[in-house]
């Protein structure tokens, strides 16, 4: 177990900056998730940490030791790959014990430790099989077994769940988290799935185009996003962005966003009279009560999920075109919809206009249209 310091890490491929000035301090035993769309530099950062790629500039310190120039074998790390990377010509037992064998452990010790790891992952009965005779979930466990058996200082995991089906992914997500908490090994986990990041991480590092956008706990990223990208990436369905003008009247500062009066904090004072971008989470909206300020919308689509419904609507005058980022980042869409996540509304909407208001305790996030940074 060890703490990790990443200091001003840069990686350039020709003229392309895959990673720009990344710095991060990881505490001993912490579970860190690098998240972002394809090409954001998260896997590159992980490979540099593993020693599989060389950094252009910058340093990596693991447990107080500068490992920047060390070969992967000498960093005392273990890695789980997206496609598991199990050795197809070896049995499960040999796969798990391979790292120990390479480090010169004796046969008896290898067997004991392999069996202990297999027991912990409930794959003891698979030890004599070859990888091709295993299901996706079983292969995933073997890959984890290969990582934990060496008791390394650091676990690195590169999208280890992305090849599993949805149900198994949820199960393995919980198992990996529980395993990491139990063993307490410092872990860096890469994913493009914000749900995985939110549910597994102690802290999340959210990246875009090689640049770290924000580092924080899942709650911090959800409740205090640093910019529009983070706000839009974290949370499902994604945050709605509306244009609105900051105004002041007897009641104080507010924003008029298409008829909806949104209360704002004093940080917006410099923007009085100017347009800002308001971020409203779908779950912050509700059917308006009474005749207070509200958005009058006509649903374009209602998706009912039983206890809740996603109501899609458009406000061409107010809505802001934003990049959609999941596994891949797509350019801003002109015909994107806004979404309200409504509870206990039943499934029937007449097709006419409905009024949406802001929940009493819901917060509105403000962003500077010029920089897309949060106004705080």
């Amino acid at each position: 177990m060890a703490e990790i310091q990443i200091q001003n890490l840069n990686k350039r491929y020709g003229g392309f900056n895959a990673l720009q000035d990344m710095s991060l301090d990881v505490k001993d035993g912490e579970f860190i998730v690098f998240v972002g769309p394809s090409g954001c530099g998260k896997s590159t950062a992980l490979k540099i940490l593993a020693g599989l790629e060389a950094a252009t500039t910058g340093n990596i310190i693991i447990g107080g030791e500068d490992v920047t120039e060390l070969a992967p074998a000498k960093r005392d790390i273990a890695m789980v790959f997206q496609n598991y990377a199990l050795y197809p010509h070896l049995t499960v037992r040999q796969n798990i014990g391979f790292g120990l064998m390479m480090r010169g452990a004796d046969k008896k010790e290898i067997n004991q430790r392999v069996e202990r790891a297999a027991q912990a992952l409930e794959i003891s009965d698979l030890l004599e099989r070859r990888p091709k005779a295993l299901s996706g979930g079983q292969r995933q466990r073997v890959a984890l077994g290969r990582a934990i058996v060496r008791e390394p200082r650091v676990f690195l995991m590169d999208e280890p769940l992305s090849n599993l089906d949805a149900a198994l992914r949820v199960q393995m997500r919980a198992e990996i988290t529980a395993l990491q908490r139990r063993i307490g090994v410092t872990t860096i986990y890469v994913t493009h799935d914000q749900t995985e990041a939110m549910t597994m991480a102690d802290r999340i590092v959210i990246m875009r185009k090689g640049v770290v956008q924000q580092i924080g706990s899942p709650d911090e990223l959800f409740n205090r996003p640093a910019n529009m990208f983070v706000a839009g990436f974290i949370g499902s369905p994604a945050m709605n962005f509306l244009r609105g003008e900051v105004r002041r009247d007897d009641g104080g500062l507010f924003i008029d966003a298409g008829g909806l009066r949104l209360p704002v904090a004093d940080a917006a004072v410099p923007f009085v009279g100017k347009m800002v971008i308001c971020g409203i989470r779908p779950e912050s909206l509700e059917l308006a009560r009474g005749d207070g300020s509200a958005l009058e919308i006509t649903p374009t689509l209602v998706e009912s999920l039983g206890t809740e419904a996603y109501v899609h609507f458009r406000l061409p005058e107010q809505q802001v075109k934003t990049a959609v980022a999941g596994e891949h980042e797509h350019p801003p869409l002109g015909n994107g919809t806004l979404i309200a996540r409504l509870y206990d509304v039943g499934t029937s909407f007449s097709g006419g206009t409905i009024r949406l208001g802001l929940k009493p305790q819901a917060s509105v996030h403000l962003f500077d249209p010029a920089t897309e940074q949060a106004i705080r």
Binding site: L52, M79, Q82, A85, Y87, H89, R146
Partner: protein
Amino acid sequence: MKRKLWQSILLYAAVIASCAVVLFPIYWMIVTSLQPPGSLRAYPPHFLPPDPQWQTYVNLFIETDILRWMANSAFVAVVATAISMVAAVLAGYSLSRYQTKSSENVGLFILMSKMLPATMLIIPLFGIMRSLGLMGSLWSLIFAHATAIVPFATWMLKGYFDSVPNELEQAAQVDGCTPWGALFRVILPVAAPGLAATSLYGFVLSWADYLFARTFLANNADSWTVNLGIATFKGEYQTDWNLVMAASLMAALPIMIAYLFLQRYLVGGMTAGAGK
């Protein structure tokens, strides 16, 4: 999906017809080798020799040097294949994994050398072998065959290495291997079917050669390979075709046996290598 009866009949008919076309020359070699010399042009032909002449095979082994020729062929084929495989594994692996600006050009340059006809290479190779004092030596043939095997083997293996995920050697390196260790402990065992297919290709190419052997070894009867030896059975006025066929059958036997045992790897190796 279950086949209909007529589809099965059609399929089996096609398979039998293909086998007949492929196997008939071998069958005819066997038949000819067991007939007296004069019966070759008998009409109607004997599809089963009425009086099999097993003595032809006895004569072949007693009166000719076929065992020595086969040993020479085997030595040349094994050593040329081994040398070529070492070079081709390293070249193919480098071309597959270490991409530089010139990788593609180097790869095409290697492939281009395969496109040159063997007859074009004969004259410069003749000069080289004479300068090295290797004329009449089996080593001349080994080096000449290696020049022919390496380019194609490199490309075959590059294709195969391309289909082996990078993550395998990365995992091996994280597990404690050096890059060489990852190659030998993980990549080569995983690529075993490809190695088998490529080796077999090299072995067959060397074993079947006549042109290089005729050029470099003709003046030294002790170094003759089996193909060169068989060619001497052809007389100016008369040829014992039963002896030629018996010897040819013996020469083809090692290759047929090798294919029989390696066909599983060969098919797997070819398809896996071509997959990506």
